[in-house]
């Protein structure tokens, strides 16, 4: 079965790079440009994996993960948090609200795929 990944980032170029890489590796991708849109997308159709940025308008990454984990169907869906190297405190916070782990930006497609495949199995 093809797995669906929800990619949440307000930067169109990051979204595009991540989506292209994932699609190239055989995943289906749903994109959202902020936490609120991501939450709506996840409620509409539960993805297999979520990759989310932190700094976004309307609802940031931490807020989105918190709201997503409040959904009963969210159990078992891994969330990968994207952060920059300077945000150590936020990484721990992301884990605390329900991310399975984080990736540090910038990253290349090789790194992204190896992380996603580790999570997807």
């Amino acid at each position: 079965m093809q797995k669906t990944i929800l990619v949440v980032d307000d930067s169109p170029s990051v979204r595009r790079m991540v989506s292209m890489t994932l699609k190239g590796a055989g995943f289906a991708v749903v994109e959202a440009d902020d936490g609120r849109a991501a939450l709506a997308a996840a409620e509409r159709s539960l993805p297999d994996i979520i990759i989310t940025d932190q700094n976004m308008p309307n609802l940031d990454g931490i807020g989105f993960i918190k709201a997503f984990r409040a959904l009963p169907q969210s159990a078992g869906v891994p969330v990968i948090f994207l952060s920059t190297e300077t945000e150590d405190a936020i990484k721990a916070q992301a884990r605390a609200v329900g991310a399975i782990g984080w990736m540090t930006k910038p990253f290349n497609d090789e790194k992204l795929l190896s992380v996603v495949k580790r999570v997807a199995g």
């Binding site: 990968i80 399975i100 580790r118 999570v119």
Partner: protein, 636 residues
């Protein structure tokens, strides 16, 4: 992923420079094995090449260099010594990098990396006294709900060569305090020596806190086990001479009986596993689910390995065909050439063995009845030597074996006349060309009058048909008068276990071979009513006939509003099957139906589900043929 011609040109120039420097460094290292500056230089070249390669879209190159670099990391940190074999391998790796840069296939890299890995492991194992490390893996209790899958980590450990992986349930809280959503199972495992921290970290990605190293002996501190076991750890040179993969020299002959027995055991294991998974899913206990998943993965691996052991190339029976063609050529006084295509195609050994006789019978027939004499052939402008071609090829989950001759072809009018004479068809009956030709497979078609010395003995065409059906295969015949005939045998890859799609029709469950399933769609509302004609669906612009399984199976009651259509295919043809519900996919151990149900063409066998009930397995080629025939009938 950067589309930038100028940058690409820059990269290529840089890569050329780096590979030249790499080669020079490796050659220099040959005579100065301990030179740190040279080692650092090689490492730097590799690292730079990897980084830029990844950025400029050379994913295969970057992946290969990553592993190559890991080997040199061991050299740099002193756990692996520079040796002759290492330099040789590295030079080959360098050549492979050049080939990758030129757009070559990444495939030869695998063997190189395996050899490099073996060298490194042997080297570092020697350095560390070959002592394995014991580790404990204890995930955070909320791992499952966060989407973590312990099985992935355990798989990764297994890939690193971990052994003795066993679960620990000592941490389980008393039942009253047990939260079924939390994970309380830990695991212990043994890691072979020489696994680097970087590799472990990769496996434990996002679960770093779960890893606990129980015994990590300092280099040299552990007792070398060599004297106790009598097996010295291989030196680097030996490891290079004997790569880790078994080669021809390391083959073992095993009796077919034992393989059969093993397959039976695996079949039982798969059934027991399905039962466990069913129980676990119903209990909702994530601990149990985790163990059940673990066992499922083990059973799947076991199944795949066992089946791969049983796969045999068609080539194993080709020798008999060559001999037969030689003999036929002598006996009939006809020049015959045998052509074999795809002899590397593999099939389950049982299938291959059972196929030998039918194929030989078809060959006799082709040589005797199909091929003309040399004079006749020349008179028709054909080469005097007749050709019989045996062609094997994969076609989805099936293997297609074709027997093609360039003789006179089958005489449809004569076959028709004989069919009527023998009472196989009515005098008025109109048959499609393919069906008409298939009459030659019917028992009672051949008569004593036409039995000749060669083809009249042993198995008849009806036995060919029966054998192929026993193998759950099908036969198609085509012919072009004057140019030859072709008989196509379509056979499943294996007989024992398949992946099945479990569906429900009127409260009854059936299994469809997953390999034949093309897609699943919702039945459009306007087609939901039985009897609504025509029974065709528009699927991606193509009209596909569909069969209502409720009607076909004479089920009671009316279908619900959300019927699904499972589109299955056989060969080039497809048909939709309406079902009430898709239940899921599962491994299916095929049990043959008893002779009492041999006439039930709709089903190719049965299987036992997790809850112990029996489910029938749909025979896709039969259903497809039936659906197509009905469509043709309605179109007519």
């Amino acid at each position: 992923m950067i589309d930038d011609p100028e940058g690409q040109a820059l990269f290529e120039a840089e890569a050329r420079q780096l590979t030249e420097s790499l080669e020079a460094g490796l050659l220099a290292l040959r005579s100065a094995t301990g030179d740190r500056a040279l080692i650092d230089g090689v490492f730097r070249d590799l690292h730079t090449l990897k980084g830029t390669g990844g950025m400029f879209g050379h994913a295969a190159l970057a992946a290969f260099l990553h592993d190559f670099e890991t080997a040199f990391e061991a050299v740099r940190d002193g756990s692996l010594e520079v040796s002759g074999p290492l330099i040789e391998l590295s030079l080959k790796a360098h050549d492979h990098v050049l080939s990758l840069l030129a757009g070559g296939s990444p495939e030869p890299g695998e063997q190189l990396l395996a050899d490099l890995g073996a060298l490194r492991r042997a080297g570092t194992a020697a350095a560390e006294g070959a002592a394995p490390r014991r580790i404990r893996i204890r995930f955070a209790p909320d791992t499952l709900s966060l989407g973590g899958v312990p099985g992935i980590v355990l798989d990764g450990l297994r890939e690193l060569g971990a052994t003795a992986i066993r679960p620990l349930i000592g941490d389980l809280p008393p039942p009253a305090a047990l939260d079924p959503a939390e994970l309380h199972i830990a695991w212990e495992a043994e890691l072979p020596a020489g696994i680097g921290d970087a590799e472990l970290a990769e496996v434990f990605l996002f679960h770093e806190e779960a890893l606990e190293i129980l015994a990590d002996p300092a280099p040299g501190a552990a007792q070398p086990p060599a004297e106790e076991t009598g097996a010295a750890p291989p030196s680097a040179a030996e490891a290079a001479a004997g790569p880790p993969r078994p080669r021809d020299g390391a083959m073992m002959r095993v009796s077919a009986e034992r393989l059969d027995e093993m397959m039976d055991r695996v079949g039982e294991l798969v059934i027991a596993e399905a039962r466990l998974a069913d129980l676990a899913a119903r209990s909702g206990d994530p601990q149990l689910v985790a163990v059940a998943e673990e066992i499922q993965r083990l059973a799947t691996g076991m199944r795949d390995t066992t089946m791969s052991i049983r796969m045999t190339p068609i080539a194993s029976i080709i020798g008999r065909f060559r001999r037969l063609v030689h003999d036929l050529s002598q006996a009939l006084g006809k020049e015959i050439e045998l052509r074999v295509e795809g002899e590397e195609t593999e099939l389950d050994k049982t299938v291959i063995e059972m196929l030998a006789d039918p194929i030989m019978h078809l060959m006799r027939n082709a040589a005797d009845h199909g091929l003309e004499s040399a004079e006749e052939r020349r008179a028709m402008g054909k080469p005097g030597t007749g050709t019989i071609t045996v062609r094997a090829q994969y076609s989805g989950a099936e293997v297609l074996i074709s027997l093609i001759d360039d003789g006179r072809g089958l005489d449809a009018a004569r076959i028709r006349a004989r069919g009527i004479e023998r009472g196989l068809i009515g005098p008025e009956e109109e048959l499609a060309q393919g069906d008409l030709l298939k009459l030659i497979l019917e028992p009672g078609f051949s008569t004593a009058a036409q039995v000749t010395e060669l083809s009249g003995r042993g198995v008849g065409m009806d036995v060919v048909k029966r054998t192929i059906e026993q193998l759950r295969g099908s036969i198609e015949i085509s012919s072009e008068p004057g140019h030859g005939a072709a008989i196509h045998l379509r056979l499943p890859l294996t007989l024992a276990i398949i992946d099945g799609l479990l569906v429900e029709v009127a409260g009854e469950r059936y299994t469809i071979p997953l390999a034949a399933v093309e897609h699943i769609i919702e039945l459009p509302a306007e087609k939901a009513e039985a009897g609504a004609a025509p029974q065709l669906l528009n699927i991606r612009g193509k009209l596909v006939p569909f069969l209502r399984l409720r009607q076909l199976f004479r089920s009671d009651g009316a279908a619900g509003p959300h019927q699904k259509v499972v589109v299955v295919m056989s060969g080039e043809l497809r048909v939709g099957l309406t079902v009430d519900q898709i239940i899921g996919s599962s491994q299916t151990v095929i049990k043959q139906l008893s002779p009492l149900h041999a006439t039930q063409k709709t089903f190719s066998g049965a299987t036992i589900l997790g809850d112990g009930t029996v489910a029938l397995i749909l025979d896709v080629p039969q259903l497809v043929a039936f659906g197509q025939a009905r469509e043709e009938r309605e179109a007519a």
